[in-house]
Symmetry: C2
Subunit: 462 residues, 2 copies
């Protein structure tokens, strides 16, 4: 028999208030001055012995190309596979293409543990090595675990702190929990659980972990390649409140526009054997596009002494060129808005998600005349520096992507852009509207979530 | 250049107030007394000449079994196809099965036009023939159109009133617009746009159409097989407000539970050729399961004089046995709750949606011992009549399903059930929480939406 029922309020506004207070604490938390973070991270790097080397596919241990499909698979049948994808769509400069894609059907957990110290929420962050990061060590969520991880498919050690995210307790409280998509250009329908869980338990802190305030993480987000993608996407899900008296369009209008965008695109995405993927060829060291663009599939060996296992080999996707990922911004009657783009990506579960205004690798469009460029790309690349509110380089998921970096920007729209109705597929939304959408999955893509994390943490104030 | 920007409130509470007022108007609207509805519908039936006959597959016009796959396809490549599906899951009495399934990738529009008369919102409803309805003619949304319909794939007449849903205008206002799933047991990842659009334009009313208040539709929902499934699912999306001071679990807890349910189920659903579907066999008149259960695929010829085309043939799915679809209900500190079930259906886009407490065809479980029955099925079937708040038989989509009927019920839980924590996969939610979820797609399944429409329209008051 359960305890006597007690009604709870459907929404608890005190969480937003406490997140705002944590975002105000920027110079020092209860355990570390923000200025000392680089030393702490450096010390964590020196305490371990990491090494990542490119290897030929033939030297992969446990991975091989399946004889019937050419798919790159692990002998356990788990982790992930590299397969082929054929995509068709009914508009845009690319109407039909084939490509390698990562298939990883299991849902992982990206979780940040939160706790109040001195009345201020702190977040338990980890200095974690990922083989694809150029600088190897970045600041990660408390837990970053595939289901294989925490069900021990690779016979490694237990995932630290995982119980806080998978075992309910009266002393734990969920602040955010949603299934969010990952990169739709490189993953086939991949999503992870993004969680923030608050506890009042005593938490033993491992030497690779540190409690930081939201404001401290916001300060660290000013630097290139410090806060990893998994941390950014979880922070995007924090239920931060924005003080907005209104928006250019009501929430119902925004949802209706989004629904129409999903309904109007005719997209098919069909898995095919990797060996059948047209225009891509497999060498000893890489699977490459004939034109040399987009990305290549490579293999690495990893040596480390502080991860769940001490050494392994694995495939990685290595993009060609630096991405550019930006929100154009404007104010409407004083309320900040960003210009969202309803993007089609072949790997999305449901056709379209909201992305940044611009999300491209310019190199891939170099062969097109200026008029063939996507909307707003030139506006961002050629923006007067006075309009650039924020710029930093961040890495995408270092467990699957090698040196996958993008310049992330907020750029104030010029007067003409702000005063002109955007073309179909683009919509001005407020940060508060994005925060409402990101409570649910498959609305806001992972790149837009990185930009939202900059707002949520107070790194960028529009 | 656009007009000067003006902020709008993100939410407009006056819509809920006006819906509540419309739900209060039950005996007579501006155009028809509710008591006269049966005569009106009967007259519409007599005004037309409908006839539906079962035919052998060989007599289908334009439809045939593809030589390579055995799939049942139309020569135009459009409308829908009948293919095979292989599903695996990691729990429940059925862990692996194969079945025929309808694949219809295009997104249709189910739209109801709304307008105020005498200060009360009315909804433009249609007396529409669908070949699968036992009584043929039921009350339908203003518009019920596949993309093939309104892009003229079948060379028919224009879809009446469609412009109100696909052409924005300053005189039209969207009240609801979400992509909602259809039957996950019979459709592969099918969803339709569910729309309610209000206008202040003069609307010529065709003789098969009638303006009714929300309360009048609620009254009609007491009768068997009058309001069709498409109308019910659209009404479920109406942004009705419920006066709830709280809920057993907060919205964040509810979303977290739902996310965990999606993450914990390991389900695969793979399309296979229809001719490879194990345990199903194709005869001249039907494709049937060897055990005689579930459903059969059949063909019909249709003669009608008021649809977009005047006659056609098509396949239909005909379930075996009457379904039982019910919410158990209870009050928590005076606030009504219903017991939702996180259901796996093979055709869902994303593994799990919230269904009613009970949604089964008892015949399919007859071979299982009582302990093998799904939770709560016996509690509903054996409920004391005094606990049954509502019971009526409604049809599922008559354009794809033949004589697909379910008993829909609300049943008060007994004291023991109400006082006991439900098993994993079940969660008590308030009608207001369901209404919040149904603004977004893929949360609430089509059967639960029928039950929600009964609450939204005031047919059932918990």
């Amino acid at each position: 028999m359960s305890a006597p029922a007690v009604l709870r309020p459907r929404e608890d506004d005190s969480v937003a208030t406490r997140l705002a207070r944590s975002a105000e604490v920027r110079k020092s938390g209860a355990f570390l001055r923000t200025a000392d973070f680089a030393d702490w991270l450096g010390a964590r790097g020196r305490a371990h012995d990491f090494r990542v080397d490119r290897i030929p596919f033939a030297d992969l241990d446990g991975w091989s190309f399946a004889p019937d499909t050419g798919n790159l698979v692990h002998r356990s049948g788990r982790f992930f596979t590299v397969e082929g994808l054929r995509v068709t769509r009914d508009e845009g400069p690319f109407r039909e293409w084939q490509q390698p894609i990562i298939k990883q059907p299991e849902v992982g957990i990206l979780g940040i543990l939160a706790k109040e110290f001195d009345g201020v929420l702190h977040f338990l962050m980890q200095a974690k090595m990922e083989p694809g990061n150029r600088n190897l060590l970045q600041l990660s969520p408390t837990v970053q675990a595939t289901r294989s991880n925490y069900t021990k498919a690779h016979q490694g050690a237990d995932v630290k702190y995982i119980d806080h995210f998978i075992r309910p307790s009266g002393r734990r409280r969920v602040l955010a929990d949603a299934l969010q998509s990952e990169h739709g250009s490189w993953f086939y329908q991949k999503s992870n659980r993004n969680m923030i869980v608050e506890t009042d338990e005593d938490i033993p802190v491992d030497e690779d972990f540190i409690w930081l305030t939201l404001g401290q993480i916001g300060e660290l987000l000013h630097a290139d390649n410090v806060v990893n993608m998994d941390a950014r996407t979880v922070l995007a899900c924090a239920p931060v409140a924005y003080d907005e008296p209104g928006a250019l369009r009501s929430d119902t209008e925004l949802l209706s526009w989004f629904t129409a965008e999903r309904a109007r695109h005719q997209v098919t995405a069909e898995r095919i054997p990797l060996r059948d993927v047209a225009e891509w060829k497999r060498g000893d060291m890489a699977i490459e596009h004939g034109g040399g663009g987009y990305f290549q599939v490579v293999a690495v060996s990893v040596a480390a002494d502080n991860r769940e296992v001490t050494g392994w080999t694995q495939p990685l996707f290595e993009p060609v060129g630096l991405g550019v990922t930006a929100f154009l911004t404007r104010r409407v009657d004083g309320v900040p808005h960003v210009l969202a783009h309803a993007r089609v990506e072949g790997g999305f579960l449901d056709t379209v998600e909201l992305g940044p205004t611009v999300q491209y690798t310019p190199d891939n469009y170099a062969h097109l005349a200026g008029s063939g460029w996507p909307p707003y790309l030139e506006a961002v690349l050629a923006a007067d520096p006075s309009r650039v509110r924020y710029e930093a380089v961040h890495s995408e998921e270092g467990g699957r992507f090698l040196n996958a970096e993008s310049r992330y920007l907020f750029v104030d729209a010029d007067e003409e852009t702000a005063a002109t109705d955007p073309p179909p597929g683009y919509h001005w939304v407020t940060p508060g509207q994005l925060t409402s959408l990101v409570r649910h999955g498959h609305y806001v893509n992972v790149q837009a979530r990185t930009l939202l994390s900059l707002l949520n943490s107070g790194c960028v104030r529009l």
